[in-house]
């Protein structure tokens, strides 16, 4: 099992550019999440999904979009990058409400200049 994988590990974007952060898990987990971690802060939830075809907003969704066409993949899209989106992005997954441990990917460090 690779667990939760994220690509890329690092990325530098110019203001106004777009990109997709990839996240995949091979544990057959229903629940998937995107968090961002700003310097010196805890993680904040951007979007989450409870299964293929179902997504919902978290605490800080503005400027992002997600889709969940398969159980395995949960990409995060930045349409018009802004400096405020400079952060480390973590993807996580969990099996269900009954199994409450979230497994995290290694993170993507994004810088917008």
């Amino acid at each position: 099992n690779a667990g939760v994988t994220q690509t890329p590990k690092f990325r530098i974007l110019k203001i106004g550019q777009s990109m997709t952060l990839q996240c995949a898990q091979d544990m057959n987990h229903n629940y998937m999440y995107w968090y961002r971690q700003d310097p010196g802060m805890g993680l904040k939830l951007i979007y989450y999904s409870v299964g293929a075809g179902i997504t919902d907003k978290g605490e800080v969704p503005n400027g992002y979009n997600v889709s969940r066409s398969t159980t395995e993949d949960f990409p995060l899209r930045l349409e018009l990058a802004a400096p405020s989106q400079t952060s480390v992005y973590f993807c996580a997954s969990s099996y269900s409400m009954a199994n409450y441990e979230q497994y995290f990917g290694p993170g993507t460090r994004l810088t917008v200049t």
Partner: protein
Amino acid sequence: AQTVTQSQPEMSVQEAETVTLSCTYDTSESDYYLFWYKQPPSRQMILVIRQEAYKQQNATENRFSVNFQKAAKSFSLKISDSQLGDAAMYFCAYRTRRSYNTDKLIFGTGTRLQVFP
């Protein structure tokens, strides 16, 4: 809304000694989970320990244990026999247990633990 507060931005401990990291939270719910996550320099988030609010007994995992005070809404982490590999950021997190909600985690701002030889 639930909040999680970690009032110690940094802590340090001598190798083999014991250290306690503090966490308080605010909620109106009676049933929930609490977690401690470790984030080493590799950035990987690693679950250290979890506590179900309905359980009175404090959780333990080897050298890690918690002091869960539900009435005081306090959830501290004790690390015994500290090792150099324990050096990391430690995050306290809260999750509701309501069945109609997803298991979203609410994180504190973290405590950076340094371990000195």
